[in-house]
């Protein structure tokens, strides 16, 4: 295998995995042993090995969310050894590799914990609350015509860079998972500031922040207390500055919008 380390020794690990039959049942931690795990495997490949084992033994495999396995889709979401997406900074679970662990380690694997993210089964959670927040205003609905020529709308490089930084949010929910308050403000702030920074987003600027914050509250997410766990665990490095922008946008919208209700 290209790039593999020939000296890397296979590892044996103990996994403590959250098992839960469905939304309404009680879950519990179950211990599993996995053997001959290559340090070159990704964390999800290691779970694939576990599931192969379970299938051979006639047991139910562990359900977990995953899709692209390239760190860009935001599907994978495991709370590994007490950290969202595991111990490595700026990484999604699928980009976490087993070389970060040692032979004989015990690894605790849990789903995101938030009442707004109910557990579907085992490690898979329902993150449709995020979709409903986006539906409340995280888009541009004005008709912007066909594809414009490059540089037709002048946007300073610094502004477009900041908007792009905010736009890199993949909606994985690690911010909610890591937050003591299960707050979704880093996610909401990334979308609000991305669109508030760009001219196309200005038309719906006020109603967007009002509606998205109202939906966020309705979904039952907690309120941010500026702890900073979210930004520390965010796999794409969305900064706390966005939450300050969200607060600013919210206050300005509430003070000046024509919405009286």
């Amino acid at each position: 295998m290209a790039g593999s380390n020939p000296n890397a020794k296979p590892m044996n690990l103990t996994l403590k995995v959250w098992r839960q039959k469905n939304r309404n049942s009680e879950g519990k931690i179950v211990d599993y042993q996995v053997k001959d795990i290559s340090p070159d495997m990704s964390f999800l490949e290691m779970l694939d090995v576990l599931n192969e084992d379970l299938l051979h033994r006639g047991e139910e495999p562990v359900a977990f969310d995953h899709d692209c396995r390239e760190g860009i889709c935001g599907s994978c979401n495991l709370f590994i050894n007490g950290r969202a997406h595991g111990p490595e900074k700026g990484t999604t679970t699928c980009q976490l590799h087993m070389r970060k662990f040692s032979d004989g380690d015990t690894i605790t694997i849990e789903p995101w914990r938030a009442n707004s993210f109910p557990v579907n089964k085992d490690l898979s959670v329902d993150r449709s609350a995020f979709d409903r927040i986006i539906q409340a205003g995280g888009y541009i609905s004005i008709n912007t015509g066909g594809t414009p020529d490059a540089n037709e709308i002048p946007i300073p490089k610094e502004i477009s860079d900041r908007a792009f930084e905010a736009a890199t949010c993949i909606g994985c929910g690690a911010c909610v998972a890591a937050c003591k308050n299960a707050s979704a403000m880093l996610f909401v702030s990334a979308k609000v500031s991305q669109l508030a920074l760009l001219p196309q987003g200005h038309v719906e600027r006020k109603s967007r922040v009002e509606n998205m914050v109202a939906q966020m509250d309705k979904e039952g997410f907690g309120a941010c207390t500026n702890i900073g766990s979210c930004a520390a665990e965010c796999p794409v490095g969305i900064s706390l500055e966005n939450i300050a922008i969200l607060n600013r946008e919210f206050l300005a919208a509430k003070a000046t919008s024509n919405n009286l209700s």
């Binding site: 403590k16 959250w18 931690i29 709370f79 050894n81 007490g82 950290r83 111990p87 605790t108 849990e110 914990r113 938030a114 009442n115 707004s116 890591a178 003591k180 308050n181 299960a182 707050s183 403000m185 914050v213 109202a214 966020m216 509250d217 039952g220 997410f221 907690g222 309120a223 941010c224 207390t225 500026n226 702890i227 900073g228 766990s229 520390a232 665990e233 706390l240 500055e241 939450i243 300050a244 922008i245 969200l246 607060n247 600013r248 946008e249 919210f250 206050l251 509430k254 919405n259 009286l260 209700s261």
Partner: protein, 245 residues
């Protein structure tokens, strides 16, 4: 529901109230600390009693007192409302959670720190404010209520001094997070000024809380029952008093 009540019952609206009242309470701490520095004046409490008489009778101060009560009231009520909301947002916790690897202890324990400060505040208000305003204190040589003697005798009780110092440590940690957090909540961040706000917040927390903590410690360890400095520190206190004259 009108737009105003809707704004201030939203999560961000409540945070904004906590931030504004928090900064207002910080301004109160400065005034309270500077006024109380008169305890160190080696004059049998004459200056301190004049000051406390003024604070207890001046109509402007008495009006502002209601503002202070409202400030505390809103800060505590809104914080508790948010705390309950946040507790309810995660009813099943993690089996393993290493939040110490991604955040500061004081940032995660603002409610605990606030509760310690509140307990201290109630004891403190009963012992000094209530007795000065509604109790009977003996007059001093200027015929002002002799609050100074009450302060000195209180600060000679070890458990009282211990409670004060513990409360100031809690307040310090509360401010270490709270000061800069208030600016973040109000959206007052800027790449040029935020580092300065954070540095000022650190200095403010430590200086103010150390200033308050020194008072009971000074009276307990370095004064006699009348509040006069013991011989080993008397020359130092005299020279400071002289320098400030």
């Amino acid at each position: 529901m009108s737009w105003i009540s809707k704004t201030f019952s939203s999560s961000i609206g409540r945070k904004i109230i906590v931030a504004i009242t928090g900064l207002f309470l910080c301004s109160f701490l400065v005034v309270h600390l500077i006024g109380n520095l008169q305890l160190f004046k080696n004059d049998d409490g004459v200056a301190f009693n004049i000051y406390s008489h003024f604070m207890g009778t001046n109509p402007l101060i008495r009006t502002l007192e209601w503002g202070l009560l409202l400030g505390f009231g809103f800060h505590i009520y809104e914080s508790l409302t948010l705390w309950r909301r946040n507790q309810a947002a995660r009813s099943v916790g993690y089996v393993s959670n290493h939040s110490e690897q991604n955040s500061k202890w004081q940032s995660r324990n603002m409610a605990l720190l606030g509760t310690i400060i509140l307990i201290f505040l109630l004891v403190h208000l009963y012992n000094f404010f209530y007795r000065a305003r509604f109790g009977e204190l003996d007059p001093d040589i200027n015929n002002n209520d002799d609050l100074y003697t009450l302060v000195v005798s209180s600060f000679h009780q070890w458990w009282y001094v211990a409670l004060y110092v513990l409360a100031q440590v809690a307040l310090c940690y509360h401010l270490l997070h709270g000061f800069k957090s208030a600016f973040q909540t109000l959206g007052l961040t800027h790449r040029k000024y935020t580092p300065a706000i954070q540095a000022i917040g650190y200095a403010f927390s430590i200086i103010v809380c150390a200033g308050f903590a020194i008072m009971p410690l000074y009276f307990f360890f370095f004064t006699n029952g009348q509040g006069e400095p013991i011989s080993s520190v008397a020359p130092l206190v005299d020279s400071i008093n002289l320098a400030l004259k």
